[in-house]
């Protein structure tokens, strides 16, 4: 007997999701698809999911959570807090692979700086300063992670570093006169497997005014794949 699941998944004769979308929008115009869709549970399911996605009608019990999530997303992605470079979120998908049991962590990263050139305007203007090389651990690389490091800004007297939870709660705030910050035991304790944090740093001049800041960098700690236990046979 063949594995039955394969009969229930998308088949080579199933139209693409774009084609299904055009059928869902105007069944008359895409009438040639009707025989397949009427016979294919998979395509019917895709259309139903697509429609419920597009309609986005929360049920009563989903309303509060949906609203809160949407406003958190807006706070997270609206410029200037988010990066202003279109499609240029070079740090997206950044993964730090850390052995789950390791307490020793190391990473070196240069940051993309954005300088606020007009602090008085209602809508601040951000200008990208040339990108700095980033040293990102390769996927699966066994590394120790003990400090954040970023590119020095010439006029900076001090740097302020923040780690925030996904909901925007500040998990850690620290300052450093140099372009790096060693993590203490308490901060390392925040870097738990599967946890997502956002890391950002600001450069301050002698008067404490922000003269440059990094993009908000998403950090997700991926647990190392567990080693198979040894067995005595």
């Amino acid at each position: 007997m063949k594995p039955p699941e394969t009969l229930l998944q998308r088949q080579p004769d199933c139209p693409s999701i774009d084609t299904l979308a055009s059928y869902a929008e105007s069944p008359q115009q895409a009438a040639s698809l009707r025989p397949h869709i009427e016979a294919c549970a998979n395509c019917q399911t895709e259309i139903r999911l697509l429609n419920s996605f597009l309609e986005a009608k929360p049920a009563e019990h989903e309303l509060a959570d949906t609203r809160q999530l949407a406003s958190q997303l807006q706070a997270r992605f609206t410029s200037p807090k988010a990066t202003t470079r279109a499609g240029g979120a070079w740090w997206t998908g950044w993964r730090i692979w850390v052995p789950a049991m390791s307490m020793l962590l190391v990473i070196a990263a240069g940051l993309q700086w954005q300088r606020q050139t007009d602090a008085t305007a209602n809508a601040p203007v951000y200008r990208d300063i040339p990108r700095i090389e980033v040293y990102i651990p390769r996927q699966g690389e066994q590394i120790a992670f003990s400090e954040f490091r970023w590119q020095a800004v010439p006029a900076a007297a001090n740097y302020s570093l923040t780690l925030t939870e996904v909901d925007g709660t500040v998990a850690f705030a620290g300052a450093s006169p140099t372009a790096s910050l060693s993590l203490d035991a308490k901060t390392k304790g925040l870097l738990l497997p599967r946890k997502t944090l956002h890391f950002s740093v600001e450069a301050l001049d002698g008067a404490g005014k922000t003269i440059a800041r990094s993009a908000s960098i998403r950090i997700r700690i991926e647990p190392a794949s567990p080693k198979a236990p040894k067995t005595n046979e």
């Binding site: 039955p4 979308a21 998979n42 019917q44 996605f53 997303l73 202003t84 499609g87 997206t92 996904v166």
Partner: protein, 194 residues
């Protein structure tokens, strides 16, 4: 900016030297639907926020390659769907096993779509589609293909399909299996060689 379609905003993001405001507007239009999708998929507000952020990060990354033949909203759906169904489900499935364990165990006693191996794959597919279309209700069919085809946990299927009956997708899966098993039994009787 409000007069621009999503697809026009994408072009502006790709070409304008100050694209941030266009991206803000484009994303603002879709926060609700991605939030709701992720909430339904994960069933948990914190996990939904994490998933929704990942979806928008992927959109941000992929925007420059968005060709514009497709609708932006369909592309966004594909990203959200694939992220949840393929990547998130891999890590979540294990965690949800304990939640779904009693109902899954109960449903796992029989093969899911037993089709005779004497049939070719194409014949099996045609037979499976015919039974599902003729014998199952719309909800049974969709719950069945999401749970057994995509491996989506029962509780998640219930939320994704917005099922409001007390036992959610489980009731539809149980009745779908009963109908399909009966169809297979009758098919075998009709095709048995004396």
């Amino acid at each position: 900016m409000l007069q621009h379609t999503d697809e026009e905003l994408v072009v502006l993001i790709q070409t304008d030297p100050s694209p941030a405001r266009y991206q803000d507007e484009l994303f603002r239009r879709h926060y609700d639907r991605v939030a709701l999708w992720c909430l339904r998929y994960t069933g948990d507000r914190d996990a939904a926020l994490d998933a929704a952020q990942e979806v928008f990060l992927r959109v941000q990354k992929g925007l420059r390659h968005f060709a514009g033949q497709a609708k932006f909203s369909t592309w966004l759906f594909t990203i959200a769907r694939n992220y949840c169904f393929n990547e998130l489900s891999r890590t979540r499935r294990q965690a949800e096993v304990s939640i779904d364990a009693p109902e899954t165990a109960e449903l796992a006693n029989e093969p899911t779509m037993p089709v005779d191996e004497a049939l070719s794959r194409a014949e099996q597919l045609q037979q499976a589609r015919e039974w599902m279309t003729k014998l199952l209700s719309e909800e049974e069919r969709q719950a069945y293909s999401l749970h057994y085809g995509e491996g989506i946990p029962i509780s998640t299927v219930t939320r994704l399909l917005g099922l409001s009956n007390p036992s959610g997708a489980k009731a539809h899966l149980v009745s779908a299996r009963r109908k399909l098993s009966e169809a297979v039994r009758r098919w075998k009787v009709g095709h048995e060689t004396p």
